[in-house]
């Protein structure tokens, strides 16, 4: 579904991604690990179309479409979702209004009628239970005053509402206690199917105990320098990144 070829990107003239190659097929879970500053979050930002970044080379194909040519909102409509590392607070915009607008914009994109208020609220109720999100949170402004755990649960709730084909979870485990981590991971696993895929960006093996990856990639200095099965995550947890860094740096 996703084919990334030699993707290069920069922010304010600083080259961050220096040629990423990655292919994701339906049903797969990919973990992207790597030391701080290696470009993990940049990759998620570029894939979702954050205007702060400039693509300087390469291509991204999503279900045969040129992803990079689409606006962020159209990427979302086509089935791409990003769970933010730092979800944004939007005072004054209620979760209900936010979600209803998002859902109806997607329906409009596919030429469907807007959802009725009753159907929408029913859907909200149903999806809320997946991540045990309190009704009170749903009636408040988007992420405003939410705890770290609530914000992340809210991200997975939005993912459940929008039913994306490809979800990128950017450091979804950061700021979560063990219970919240379990709830978030079980939410992700509930939403998993043969048709959709997940890219998990994380520093730690911990999250991968709950969300089992099929592939683990190591990103370093803007490139994927190593790809293997889930056993690589365990090895990294054990040995750290230094041995990979040395290996890559010596080759250069």
């Amino acid at each position: 579904m996703l084919i990334i070829k030699d993707l290069q990107a920069s922010i304010e003239d600083k080259q961050i991604l220096k040629g990423i190659n990655l292919t994701v097929k339906p049903g797969e879970v990919h973990a992207i690990m790597g030391p701080n500053g290696s470009g993990k979050s940049t990759l998620s930002a570029v894939l979702t179309g954050n205007p702060a970044y400039t693509v300087t080379g390469g291509s991204v194909e999503f279900y045969g479409k040129d992803l990079l040519a689409l606006s962020p909102e159209d990427r979302a409509h086509e089935g791409l979702f990003l769970s933010f590392q730092y979800p944004v607070e939007i005072p004054g915009v209620s979760m209900v209004n936010f979600m209803r607008t998002a859902l109806n914009e997607k329906r409009k994109y596919f030429g469907q009628e807007p959802l009725s208020a009753a159907d929408f609220l029913k859907l909200m109720r149903e999806k809320r239970s997946i991540v045990q999100l309190d009704n009170k949170l749903a009636s408040r402004a988007v992420n405003e005053g939410f705890s770290g755990g609530e914000k992340k649960r809210n991200e997975i709730f939005q993912m459940a509402m929008l039913e994306p084909k490809l979800s990128i979870l950017d450091e979804t485990d950061s700021g979560l206690d063990i219970d919240a981590l379990r709830i978030v991971a079980s939410g992700v696993n509930t939403l998993k199917s043969k048709e959709n895929a997940t890219i998990v960006i994380t520093h730690y093996q911990r999250l991968l105990d709950y969300i089992k990856p099929d592939f683990v990639h190591v990103l370093y200095k803007g490139r994927i320098v190593m790809s293997a099965g889930p056993e690589l995550a365990l090895e990294l947890e054990d040995k750290g990144y230094d041995w990979i860094k040395e290996q890559v740096d010596s080759q250069q």
Binding site: E73, A76, L82, V88, I90, E105
Partner: protein, 450 residues
């Protein structure tokens, strides 16, 4: 050049005639106004308190003045319904410069008195004599001009202890088929422990003509009274307005003034509040949504002349295209007024690089032991929030609208009339969606929606 001269000349030529058909009381302050105007000049842009607005240019246009009090045929109540659903109001109309008799006479609203000055001068001569023109400051040339040419106005009186059950709504409509200036005038007296909610809606039915509303409003809030005054402007790009609201607050009174501009041409709103009694509470709110060439300038002055009072002021502007906004607010705490709490805020959103905002918050404090704050900010839409919304599939335009609506939401939520609050949320939504015409509330639909 002196834009005032044409109107002074008009007055001088018609003085006898004007005085004949006006209550004697109005004529007294008229003469005083004439003396003031002999040497007065309208402020130019850049002069003190007029950093962004050129009143000379606004008045220089050749407006007609209905000196002869010719009646306009149309009864606005037949065609115009300012439709605030779920809100049962006592409705009054003014069309151009006249209160429509058919719309005002047939309504009986218990003990609350709403009548034109011409009637009030006969029915309540003492009240009129005690309060008319007593707050308004004739050294302001626009106020003097209003006092010079005004021939009628609306007198609203809530006797002591009377609580007006239903809100009073005054719909002011411009519908003359010529360029015209009117002098609207209100005198509102709210007795001890009395209460009133008043909604004034300024509309313009003919988008083709230039109109100028040069209005003066005096509000006296006696001790323990509650006054809500909502002032909604939804006119046209060719409509100008210079409005001066004067408030005298007595002990324990609670006054809320909320000025909302959705569509206009040029607007200057002056608010002058004198807090003269202890434990009085003042809420001064403003919301402006401007695009195109709209110009909205608010000038506020709250003087705390008594101890232990609260005032809370918040003005918000959302400016797009070439719109110009201005806010100057001053809070004055006089000597020997301890325990005053006064807060002032002005927050502005410039949605386009060509939109301009001028802001000047001011505090002047002559007493220790007070709590005061003032602040002002001009910013753009939050890029992070915009991107976050777009990743959820909300298009850029829709995302901008949601954020702009969210920005003004708290000012709307300060409205103490639920039906009006809902209506404002709806109107603001339409305004941002670009589907609000000046006739949004009009059943006649004489103009197609944009």
């Amino acid at each position: 050049m002196n834009a005032l001269q044409q109107y002074i000349d008009l007055y001088d030529a018609n003085r006898e005639f004007i005085e004949q058909q006006s209550p004697a009381l109005l004529n007294m302050s008229r003469r005083e106004a004439r003396e003031q105007l002999a040497t007065a000049r309208l402020p130019r842009k850049g002069s003190e308190d007029y950093e962004a607005s050129d009143l000379e240019a606004v008045f220089a246009h050749d407006y007609g003045v209905n000196v002869n009090r010719l009646p306009f045929d149309a009864d606005p109540s037949n065609t115009f319904h300012c439709d605030v659903p779920n809100m049962s109001t006592c409705l009054y109309y003014s069309s151009n410069d006249a209160f429509h008799s058919s719309a005002t006479a047939e309504r009986n609203i218990g003990q609350v008195v709403v009548e034109p000055f011409s009637m009030a001068a006969v029915d309540y001569p003492e009240l009129m004599a005690s309060y008319y023109g007593k707050l308004a400051n004739l050294s302001d040339p626009t106020v003097a001009l209003n006092s010079l040419l005004v021939q009628d106005g609306l007198f609203i009186y809530v006797p002591d202890g009377v609580v007006a059950e239903r809100p009073i709504q005054l719909v002011n409509i411009f519908n003359a088929a010529l360029d015209m200036m009117v002098q609207r005038r209100l005198l509102i007296i709210v007795g001890k422990n009395a209460s009133i909610k008043l909604l004034a809606c300024d509309h313009t039915q003919s988008p083709d003509y230039h109109y100028l509303n040069n209005q003066v409003i005096e509000i006296v809030a006696m001790s323990g009274s509650h006054v809500d005054f909502y002032d909604l402007e939804e006119s046209t790009p060719k409509t100008s307005r210079v409005s001066s609201v004067y408030v005298d607050q007595h002990e324990g009174s609670n006054v809320l003034i909320d000025g909302i501009t959705l569509i206009n041409g040029f607007t200057r709103n002056n608010y002058h509040v004198e807090v003269n009694g202890e434990h009085a509470e003042t809420h001064l709110l403003g919301m402006t949504i401007a695009s195109g060439e709209q110009h909205v300038d608010s000038h506020t002055f709250i003087s705390h002349n008594a101890p232990r009072c609260n005032s809370n002021e918040m003005f918000k502007y959302v400016l797009n295209d070439n719109a110009v906004g201005a806010f100057a607010g001053k809070i004055l705490v006089q000597p020997n007024c301890p325990r005053v709490e006064a807060y002032q805020g002005n927050r502005n959103l410039c949605g386009a690089p060509t939109a301009k905002m001028y802001t000047k918050p001011q505090l002047e404090i002559y007493t220790d032991d007070v709590m005061c704050s003032h602040g002002s900010a001009v910013g753009q839409l939050d890029e992070d929030a915009l991107f976050y919304m777009r990743t959820r599939g909300i298009g850029i335009d829709e995302a901008r609208r949601l954020l702009m609506q969210a920005f003004v939401a708290d000012v709307i939520d300060g409205v103490r009339l639920d039906a009006l609050k809902d209506r404002l949320h709806y109107l603001v939504e339409k305004r941002f969606a670009g589907t609000l015409s000046n006739c949004a509330g009009c059943m006649a639909a004489c103009r197609p929606t944009e």
